[in-house]
Amino acid sequence: MTVRVSNVVKRFGADTDAAAVNDVSFEAKPGAITSLLGPSGSGKSTLLRMIAGLEVPNSGRVFIDGTDATERSPQHRNVGFVFQSYALFKHMTVADNIAFGMKIRGLRGAAVQKRVTELLGLVQLPGYGSRFPAQLSGGQRQRVALARALAIEPKVLLLDEPFGALDTQVRLELREWLLSLHEQTGITTLLVTHDQEEALELSEHIVLLNEGRVAQAGSPHDLYDHPANEFVASFLGGANVFKGRVKNGAAQVGSQSIPAPSGAREGTPLQAFVRPHNIRVRKPTGQNPVDLGKIERLTRVGGYVKVYVSLPTGESITVQMSKTDLDELAVEPGDPVAVDVVDAKVFVQSYSI
């Protein structure tokens, strides 16, 4: 079932205040996981809460399953909402938490019992029904929250930073688990996250938000490889930024010349974004040492190494390479190196006066 948001605006406070969500439109495809990704304050949670009905947009419409749900109260939207804080009912057992939505719908007895057992199995917590939320770990609570949301057989599942409060290990496990759960249920899911890795790994579709607007929407591949603007290029994957001007229809990035976007006039300032893994570092081969960079620092992060290189221009860049590559290269901090850019995204700066 689809979720469609059209030209939604949400302001907190006076009309003159900046909108938290500013004219946002997107569509979540049925049966897929769509991520609402963005830095904090980008309006992603507000957007999700408006889809659930917990906030009312100032203008714009929200469609759930093809019907206009903008005016409908959250009570009647039949969406499953999972909060970052889990929001489990602390005074109820796990089973009562999961059964809550069904009991509200007037279901009683064995049917509820059966469904609760089923859901506990689905979230891999069989036998936990009689415990209280405080007796569970963070990851377990989050799974109970998911079971409770799924119990009402919602049209869509809305997850607000579901793994935000968990430690890395549990987060990675739950991510995998959520993917397999989604394969089983096939329920249309919207996931709010600030963690790009999470979005890239989990979703078929990403809506990247910045300052209340959609910066770019598309597949993870689209956003990563074809960023529409500077924000997308720098937010996703992290990037080294080279500043320069258009010269002979090209951008000079390090020792490389990369074609500038068509229509860019000579001398226009430009920015080139180069991902840390799109830079090759090699031993200098008889070059003028002035053109060379110098290794400032090596930081080993598990399987890969971050190499910080200062360029003759005074800029400092980050290069990412595997440990094996670094061992082969055999360089130490202070060594001169040549730097090749494999791929860069070039944006001509837009001026608005």
Partner: protein, 313 residues
């Protein structure tokens, strides 16, 4: 005050003996000061009350309580508390719900106003009602025309008591509700619950210990209120005398056994309040020890007994 502190936290977590703090000597001195203070200002008065009440034995004590006027005072006190406490529970929950769930114009003014009866002297609180409903008050002519008696009658006593005690439930519930936020309510809403279902199944169970604590305090104060009730009651024997007023009358008549016997009833109520609160805390701490929720632990003794100020001679 370390003695009191220990008492407060005793019900919750076992406090570790940390190295932060005072030496053994300092601790002993502080404990001694606290115990001495308690002995002089709390234990001694209570012992005196019961001692004087039973000074002539159980028979006279029993007779003193069985006078018609005293029985009427007990009845009126129970009636007053029986009306004021439920009213304040409804008001307290409504105000807390409003304040913690909604943003509206004048919210901070409302929060401040809730505390007003605490900051006004009880005598003034009583006078306010005399000025409003007395024979020469704003509504006086209208009321006498329709033969409605409020001042020097039961309605006035109930109103004054309700006014004086109304922050007690509201303050407790507001504090607990605000501390707990609205996440659970929002979750219930998305699961299809209506406003009433959320209130009954989620919010009230969440704040139940704050609510119970507020009710206990409110009840103690409602039964013990002297100043405001004294102004509006008119001291009509057998009709508008509550227990604290009865104590004053008996004492002024040099009927010491009678005065102290009635006072002992009020003190017994205070002690009972304490026991009820402790039992409530114990029953919850047994379950909540695992749930990390801390019941509202405050020393009720001081506040319960302080509502009898001016009454216990």
């Amino acid at each position: 005050m370390s003695g009191v502190l220990t008492q407060r936290t005793g019900g919750n977590a076992r406090r570790r003996d940390t190295r932060v703090g005072e030496s053994a000597v300092t601790r002993a001195i502080l404990t001694a000061i606290a115990l001495l203070f308690l002995a002089v200002f709390l234990v001694a008065p209570i012992v005196t009350v019961f001692g004087a009440a039973f000074s002539k034995g159980v028979g006279p004590y029993w007779d003193a309580l069985h006078q018609d006027e005293t029985l009427d005072a007990i009845r009126l006190t129970l009636l007053t508390a029986g009306i004021a406490v439920p009213l304040n529970v409804v008001f307290g929950i409504a105000a807390a719900w409003l304040i913690s769930k909604y943003d509206f114009w004048g919210k901070s003014a409302l929060v401040t106003l809730v505390d007003l009866p605490f900051s006004v002297s009880p005598v003034i609180s009583g006078l306010i009602f005399v000025l409003l409903f007395g024979a020469h008050g704003w509504f006086g002519p209208y009321l006498s025309e329709h033969d409605i008696k409020i001042i020097f009658a039961v309605p006035g006593i109930v109103m004054a008591t309700t006014f004086v005690t109304f922050p007690l439930v509201a303050r407790e519930v507001i504090a607990v509700m605000q501390a707990q936020g609205s996440d659970e309510e929002e979750a219930a809403l998305t699961l299809g619950a209506s406003g009433w279902q959320i209130l009954l199944r989620i919010t009230l169970p969440k704040v139940r210990w704050g609510l119970i604590y507020g009710i206990i305090l409110c009840n103690a104060r409602a039964m013990g209120e002297f100043g405001a009730v004294s102004v509006v009651s008119g001291h009509v024997r057998g009709l508008t005398n509550t227990l604290p007023l009865q104590v004053e009358i008996l004492y002024n008549e040099y009927n010491f056994v009678g005065a102290f016997a009635v006072a002992s009833l009020l003190c017994a109520l205070a002690l009972l309040t304490l026991v009820v609160k402790k039992v409530a805390e114990w029953s919850v701490s047994a379950r909540d020890a695992r749930r990390a929720a801390s019941p509202h632990a405050k020393s009720v003794a001081v506040e319960a007994c302080s509502s009898f100020e001016g009454v216990v001679p």
